[in-house]
């Protein structure tokens, strides 16, 4: 699956703020670390602020801090600020009756959506920080491919 750029940027920012609970970080600092657009990240941080996840202070010494509880805040909470996740996201729309093939395909896609939602909902920001510290990919024989996100140098 692929996350939208805004969702990925939001997760980078939230993880960065959660990893530095005693500091306020500027959008410029976060954007530089991930090589992403400052302008785009600023918009993402504003949306996270409106969602009650981060708080920003202007001026010298200003910056952002995480105000949500990282033990309770899940990946789903962050992603859903920017894009729908789950059955609603792929809805065919309208009240048109589905053909049998469409209905059968819908059942399979809903199955995948249910797994996606359950996975994002079960992983808190604190769990992500622990995962990042443990680096299980370093011990795995599986070849890890780069994450398939839309994030990148913008």
């Amino acid at each position: 699956m692929k996350l939208q750029k805004a969702s990925s940027f939001a997760l980078f920012a939230v993880l960065e703020l959660a990893a530095n609970p005693t500091r306020q970080l500027s959008g410029v600092e976060i954007a530089a670390k991930y090589g992403i657009s400052v302008h785009h990240l600023a918009k993402v941080l504003r949306d996270l602020g409106r969602a009650g996840i981060v708080d920003g202070a202007r001026g010298v010494g200003g910056g952002y801090r995480l105000i949500a509880n990282p033990k309770r805040l899940t990946l789903l909470d962050v992603i859903q600020v920017f894009e729908p996740v789950g059955s609603d996201s792929g809805a065919s729309g309208g009240l048109k009756a589905l053909t049998d093939p469409e209905s059968a395909l819908r059942v399979i896609l809903d199955e995948l959506d249910d797994h996606t939602v359950a996975t994002f909902r079960s992983i808190s920001i604190s769990t992500m920080l622990k995962l990042m510290a443990a680096k299980p990919w370093a011990h795995s024989s599986r070849v890890f491919r780069p994450a398939r996100t839309a994030a990148g140098r913008a």
Partner: protein, 162 residues
Amino acid sequence: MTAISTMKPLAEPRTSEAIRIRPATGSDLAELTRIDEEVSGVAKRKYWTHLLASGGGRSRYVLVAEEQNQIQGFIVGEIRAWEFGEPPCGWVFAIEVRPKTRLQGIGTDLFSALCDRFRRAGVTKVRTIMARDNHLVLSFFRSQGMMAGPFIELEMALDRNG
């Protein structure tokens, strides 16, 4: 299905002197049944009686977390060989903590104690299966470092008339 290798768990066990983890005995049956009923809302005395009585040989572990002589939670696990074609691995069948004493690390202590026993028995992987909508316990296992394993659970309804 969720699995973890025996790499260091993500969560550090709590270092509380007050909680003691020990194997369950027959006299714990009533408390285990009561905690399970409190958590699940379903009384299953026969199930727990059978589970404690049958023992499962040396490969089954029923551990309780005790605080001041009161059981606050328990975990049930078993080492099974060649289930689904897999070499021996540890399975977690149940973990329950009294709602009033949650968020104090009791679940982490229980899980850690069970993993220690699995390790000592020579297995290198622990697995469990969870209901997708059980966000609380699913999040707990994730916080311990468990990730999706290589299996997909499938099911179908059986028509009574065949």
